[in-house]
Amino acid sequence: MFTEEELQQVEEIKSHYPTNLSAVMGALHLYQDKYGYVSDEGISYVAKLLEIPEEHVLGVVSFYEMFHQHPTGKYKLQVCTNVSCMLCNSDMVLRSIKEKIGIGIGEMTEDGLFSVHEVECLGSCGTAPVISVNKLYHDKLTPEKINELIDTLKAQG
């Protein structure tokens, strides 16, 4: 669960709003950053922390694409396939990833290192095609750049 420092961050987030309810997304982001996904336990924890109903936290978690209720790969390869990326060959991105690590959309490697997610427009249309790995964008992708990126991530472990 949260450390003293993280609890202070939650207090800071709460101070931005007139109600605790508004801090739910901020607290969930913190939780997911720490644990990789928001488990049922995480939902209960955040609910207790903010003194709001668990059902409410679940309602928020289940609405947003970015909150995961199940474990994902350590590196989430989030591939934009929306129009601008599609026009700039996001098919190639998915194909290159599949060739390199053998998985496609909705799958995770056995070692839990990578998972592939199809995402909606990432707002990087001018430098398409793009993927976001956890928090960072990688754009103007080519098969070579994808190979390099995955090798780097593998080396980091």
């Binding site: 396939t81 129009v83 601008s84 427009c121 249309c125 001018g126």
Partner: protein, 418 residues
């Protein structure tokens, strides 16, 4: 417009740093504003003709004028940086390259609207850009430009707090009432309007929601005046505009130019034309929700709200998506429909069910199992979504389908045969 000097993204290196921003007149415009009465600022913004840059092109001054005069309840400003419309990637440039001008815009707007608290809503995927904005806000607080300290810094009774609210991957949160529900911590379903946010907004209090680019224009209007602003670009929709050009062009990117530019000039001159010198099949002028235009109807089309309305489209976010002659429109429409199906919040039946049914039909067509009659079916489903939902996402899902079928029937039929 080769002589146009950008004012939103002026290309000054390190302008995101507060020292550099100050050296270029930063935080002097708020001083000027504080010497005026709030109503005088409202008059200037009204006179400038500034219209919202988030999609609807609603006159900003008019929107502000809906806010009640000082009452018992606090008022709020939300700055909409959800930027999730496919083809839009402009607000990100402001976060990265000129965040202080946005912050100064919030200070001026906040003073004009007597707001004590402002939230900048930034889409969750933009985490790196959120950090940039948070850093800029922290710098502004440290210099005494924001918060309680601004009273001392500027010798005024006015102060405003600015906070960032991070989204978590939901297109619907760009809709203003959904955005407010997201900040309140609810499932972000859009609200029925009326009541409008200026009456009942965040926590039931008067609220104004403005796009990031709109707010970033405010300091410029303060500095250079309404007359200067309204002389730029299109008469009924004046000012600088961030055009995002993507798809099949040689030099995609965000370009700041006056409103009302010729679409062909933007595509061929500014964005370097089409790779391989191919012809254009389709252009979406303002993000994926806007009715698409045929490649052969682009001559003489100006990029401003009224010109685009006249030819059956809309300015949206000025995110221009260009598709060359080899583009498979069925694939494009399927992908766009997939987007709206995923992003439909599920509150209204026509949108929740309609987007799903349209996607099923498109997938059947892509698999080569459909017929020309399915185009009529799609058109009919789209028509039954449009206008029948709480928010504009329904229309946004319906328009690309409906207008592409109307304007590209021949091309779509050919793709079916193939």
């Amino acid at each position: 417009m080769n002589d146009y000097q950008p004012v939103l993204l002026p290309g000054i290196s390190d302008l995101h740093r507060i020292d550099v921003y100050e050296q270029h007149g930063g935080y002097a415009r708020i001083r000027k504003a504080l010497a005026m009465k709030p109503t005088e600022i409202l008059d200037v913004v009204k006179a400038s003709g500034l219209r919202g840059r988030g999609g609807a092109a609603f006159p900003t001054g008019l929107k502000w004028s809906f806010m009640p005069q000082e009452g018992e309840k606090p008022s709020y400003l939300c700055v909409n940086g959800d930027e999730a419309e496919p083809g839009s990637f402009k607000d990100r440039q402001i976060f990265e390259f000129n965040p202080h001008q946005m912050i100064e815009g919030i200070l001026i707007s906040g003073y004009a609207l007597r707001i004590k608290t402002a939230y900048i809503y930034i889409r969750g995927e933009y985490e790196s850009w959120t950090r940039m904005v948070e850093k800029a806000i922290a710098e502004a607080y440290a210099r005494g430009y924001v918060g309680e300290k601004m009273k001392e810094t500027f010798g005024t009774d006015y102060s405003v707090e600015i906070y960032v609210h991070r989204g978590a991957g939901a297109y619907i949160c760009g809709e203003e009432s959904s955005l407010m529900n997201s900040i309140e911590g609810h499932r972000p379903y859009p609200r029925v309007k009326p009541p409008f946010p200026a009456q009942i907004g965040l926590w039931g209090c008067p609220t104004t929601i403005n796009n990031v680019e709109t707010i970033t224009n405010i300091p410029v209007i303060m500095e250079k005046g309404a007359d200067w602003f309204k002389e730029i670009g299109a008469e009924t929709h004046p000012g600088p505009l961030l055009y995002g050009i993507s798809g099949h062009v040689n030099k995609p990117g965000v370009y700041e130019l006056p409103t009302g530019m010729l679409l062909t000039e933007l595509i061929h001159d500014v964005a370097g034309g089409i790779p391989g010198g191919k012809k254009i099949k389709m252009v979406i002028p303002g993000g994926s929700s806007m009715p698409p235009l045929r490649g052969d109807q682009l001559d003489g089309v100006h990029m401003d709200a009224d010109s685009l309305k006249d030819i059956g489209s809309a300015i949206g976010t000025a995110g221009i998506i260009v598709m060359d002659e080899d583009t498979n429109l069925l694939r494009v429409l399927t992908r766009i429909t997939h987007f709206y199906k995923v992003e439909s919040c599920g509150q209204c039946t026509p949108c929740r069910e309609g987007t799903g049914w349209m996607l099923k039909v498109f997938n059947r067509l892509l698999a080569g199992e459909g017929s020309s009659k399915d185009l009529d079916l799609l058109h009919s489903v789209a028509n039954n979504i449009e206008g029948n939902t709480v928010c504009a996402l329904g229309d946004a899902a319906a328009w690309p389908v409906k207008f592409t079928i109307e304007r590209f029937r021949v091309e779509l039929e050919k793709e079916l045969v193939r």
